[in-house]
């Protein structure tokens, strides 16, 4: 009764982007499974930044393609996702960072990105609301920006559904039925779906979904916390980020400031409960760089999962052991910004056997066998 | 306060549109309306200041009984405006106290 050409597990931005792009490439007979509601997992909990300033060339290319697609999102998908190209400002606080940024900017310019290295003085003049006393320099790309991840997910899901995809929320994949190294179907808590192709886009639960097919993916989830302030009138254009000081902050279209940091002490888990220490650290740290925050109020505080890969870069590949078991996992906190290009590439690969717009071969799983070079531009 | 146009049961046949004045301000009314009704239609329900305690008053009964709608009309005080029709060019003023007779 219930069958599909492909089953996508995960109703976050990656799953819905793949669903939309599969439909766009002619495969409409697909099912997307989401155990909760759309964007319930990491997507709905993320900061929503869209950045092209990466330290590795393939990542820059993937991100630039995503920005092209974000630019066309409203037209193509039919949803206003509050996309705002206010730029990304990367603050350098150490000499090492200054050097790294200089090199990165040079490489990124070669890739065609409109990015600039700013001196301390230029940074202070351009962004007067930032306390730049400890800032040594900065990198700024004006075509970076941010958008609303919920709306983007819902936009993709709606556009896919319009083209025939079945988006099943509150439907949990419980098992992948594999025999003779090929997929027969997917078991869910609402029934069985016959299919020969499964895409693991399960974000924080990618490892568990891999296990359903007997595949041990090298991904682990870590809690990352985030909060927003009460809304105020528009003040800040860019998303501001510091790797050294470990923070990012942006102002949403609604006026709330949303910010977060990484935590070295986190252990792998599926814990999504917010913790008090994060709040005290952030409220103490952030006003030092953004003095206007001091009197502002924290409105909502939550946590989500970073699905980490060994090198903090996504794993986009298919299984060598099981036919047509694809995965787009391990985004390490950067799934939202890469989702349009990843969804497009994944769909092209599945439908046409090759990607047409951007090369994702560097993101294969085999890379870990050769040793790991960790992406440096990560909070 | 507003004029009703559509009503599930009633249809309102209004007369010719006319102009009258309240405290010097030009207002519109329909022929056939009483002065107090025309004032209500223009958002005015405070019709007079009482003689003793200087209270603001409007009408209570709308049928000429309660005498709270006494106003000065064309210079004549103590006109029961709830049962007196409004006329083209009429000058209506809030009656202050008991009203003065001017010859």
């Amino acid at each position: 009764m219930n069958s599909a050409s492909a089953v996508i597990i995960g109703g976050g931005i990656i799953g819905t982007s793949i669903a939309y792009h599969l439909c766009k490439n002619g495969i409409n007979d697909i099912v997307l499974l989401e155990k909760d509601y759309l964007s319930a997992g990491s997507t709905g909990r993320c900061g929503g930044g869209i950045r092209q300033q990466w330290s590795e060339r393939p990542n820059v290319r993937l991100a630039m393609r995503s920005v092209e697609l974000f630019n066309k999102f409203k037209k193509d998908i039919g949803m206003d996702i509050e996309y705002y190209q206010g730029g990304y400002l990367l603050l350098a606080f150490t000499d090492e960072e200054v050097e790294l940024f200089e090199n990165n900017v040079k490489m990124q310019k070669e890739e065609g990105l409109d990015v600039n290295f700013l001196s301390k003085k230029e940074t202070a003049e351009k962004f007067p609301y930032i306390n730049t006393s400890d800032v040594k320099a900065a990198a700024f790309c004006s075509s970076d920006g941010h958008a609303n991840p919920h709306l983007a997910t819902m936009g993709y899901a709606k556009a896919a559904a319009k083209r025939g995809a079945r988006i099943l929320t509150r439907t949990k994949a419980t098992d992948i039925d594999v025999s003779n190294n090929s997929i027969k179907g997917v078991n869910t808590d609402k029934g069985y779906i016959k299919t020969s192709l499964v895409i693991n886009a399960a974000g924080g639960y990618s490892h568990e979904v891999g296990k359903m097919a007997g595949i041990d993916l090298p991904t682990e989830s870590y809690r990352h916390q985030i909060f927003v302030t009460e809304p105020v009138e528009h003040l800040m254009d860019p998303l501001v980020i510091s790797f050294e000081k470990n923070f990012y902050i942006r102002q949403t279209k609604s006026g709330n400031f949303i910010m977060g940091q990484g935590d070295e002490d986190e252990k792998p888990s599926h814990n999504e409960n917010p913790g008090w220490r994060f709040l005290t650290e952030m409220t103490e740290k952030m006003p030092k760089f953004f003095p206007f925050l001091k009197q502002m109020r924290v409105l909502r505080h939550w946590a989500g999962l970073y699905n980490m890969s060994p090198d903090a870069l996504p794993i986009i590949d298919k299984s060598s052991e099981i036919t047509d078991f694809y995965y787009a996992v391990g985004f390490s906190g950067h799934g939202f910004m890469l989702a349009p290009a990843v969804g497009e590439a994944m769909a092209e690969w599945i439908v046409h056997g090759e990607t047409k717009h951007v090369d994702i071969s560097n993101l294969n799983i085999e890379r870990f066998a050769k040793g790991v070079t960790r992406e440096k531009n990560v909070v | 306060m507003r004029r009703l146009t559509d009503h599930p049961i009633l249809s309102f046949r209004r007369g010719k549109k006319i102009t009258f004045y309240f405290e010097g301000q030009e207002l519109k009314a329909y022929e056939g309306e009483t002065i107090a009704v025309a004032l209500h239609a223009n958002g005015i329900k405070n019709l007079r200041k009482t003689p003793k305690r200087k209270r603001n008053q409007g009408f209570f009964c709308a049928i000429g009984k309660c005498s709270s709608c006494l106003m000065e009309v064309n210079g004549i005080p103590n006109v029961r405006t709830c049962i007196t029709r409004v006329k083209e060019g009429m000058s209506v003023r809030r009656q202050q106290g008991r009203g003065e007779i001017i010859d």
Binding site: H150, P274, R297 | C66
Partner: protein
Amino acid sequence: MTDLHVLIAGGGPAGLATAIEAGKVGLNVLIVDEGIEPGGQLVKQTHKFFGNENFYASVRGFEIAQELLKEISNMKNVEILPESTVIGIYDKGIPVLNRETDRVDLLKPERIVIATGASEKFLQFENNDLPGVYGAGAVQTLMNQYGILPGENILIIGSGNIGLIVSYQLEQAGANVKAIVEAADRIGGYEVHARKAKRLGIPILLKHTIKKALGITQVEGAVITEVDENWQMIPSKEREFVVDTICIATGLTPSVELVSQAGGNIKYIPELGGYVPERNIDMRTTVNNVFVAGDVSGIEEATTAMIEGRIAGLNIARDLSKKIDENRLNDLKEQIKNFRSGPTSQKVCSGLQKLGFTIEREKFVEKNDDDFKKYEGKKRPIIECPEPIPCNPCETSCPVGAITVGENINSIPTIDYEKCTGCGICVSKCPGLAIFMIQELLDSNKAIIGIPYEFLPLPQKNDTVYVLSRDGEILDTGEVTQVTDFGNKSPVVYVKIDREHIEDARHIKPVTHSRNDYVCRCEEITVEDIEKAIDEGYTDFEELRRYLRIAMGPCGGRTCRLNALKILSRKTGIPVEKLDPGNLRPPAVPTTFKTISEGSEKNE
């Protein structure tokens, strides 16, 4: 006018009915009426009247006035003098002031009928003289005679029939009646009128009274309070309403001034509204040539006023040597007795007893002993006539004779479902809007309900409408399957609803909102926004929340979450308890960076 036989003071239902009877036999009649247009209070009544078919039952008040006036306009010997007042009754004659010409004529009729009606009782509370405090009649004059809505948000004081009817009429005209306040522990008016108000969602606050009106130059609010068993205000139970209009509907008192001036005896009888003239069953006062009719003889109904007027008219005709149909006169007396024999007339009857009338209580059938349930699946009316009131249009309008009220007009109707064809005429005719059509669709969990609907806009077939409970709560949405117009402005709207709601669904309203029905105050999200999003497919509360930002504002969803969930439940049919209420995230109160960072305990 030379040779004036009858002068009638007052052109309301009683005066007009008197004039018709006197005019019919050729007497010269002059009706002196204060109003700009004659008809008295009838011209302001938009509801259908109770009573029997011979006396305009199921006809709306203003239409009754039109019919009476039309009959009079065909009589050359009956004249109406509008905008005129009988200013007294003197030894030399009766001076009549014409306001339009500002001229007084002294008239000398052979008989006088005082049909001056009543004036509104004024109620004492602080600032009760503020502009915006109106009598119920004033509200009706503005709204129904001149088409001017007195305000947008209204508080009604008094739950008698007038208070209930005016509330319903205000809502029909588009105003918002915040509450009906009633000092007694029970509703004063007919239960059917109360139900009409309740299903519009108007709360009726029993054992409450108004304490004061708020405002400087006009009403801006009202303070009401609960009263104890001794009618004393309980200060701790005060509450405030933001209203621009306070409508006092605490009753009427007969306007007996002219009776007294004519030398007639008056007597204080509270059951009849105050001082009333002494008079006999023929409506003659203690002065031989002076008659009374209508509310001046005791506060009652337009229907009884018209019967009294006719009785007075026939007696005057006989007085003045005209031949009258005695059977008809007796029949009228029977009818008024029959009309008053129900429990709703008990007060009037005890008042009349004090005037020396003997009142025999007739038997009426109280039990509505039908077998509605036995005919499940048949399209058929359910008659919710909860108390014996003098009324029978359901019986007389039924084309197949399936409904019986019987001899006594106060009896509760019974229905023969075998005979009933399901035409729905009774639904449209019932003056109490107390009959509904029901048909269970046996092959599904749905049912069709037919509701008399007197509001604009009239729903059309296939429209989705809200289905409201007897208390005006939204139960569900339903689809309009049919609209039947019987040409009397009470069309019957048939709506397909869940069968579980047939016991409670008694009203509908269109699924339209003003652009200002806010659910979420922080993010300024309206009912319409939420419904639109649900229609677009956002059927999980969290999806809705993320799409619209409901519950993402500074209040943390305290104001909006439950209401949004209720809308979601209504639209999806999933009970609230089965919906995921979404994430409730800390901090519970927005807290500044400074406060948090300076907190004492820094360890997790």
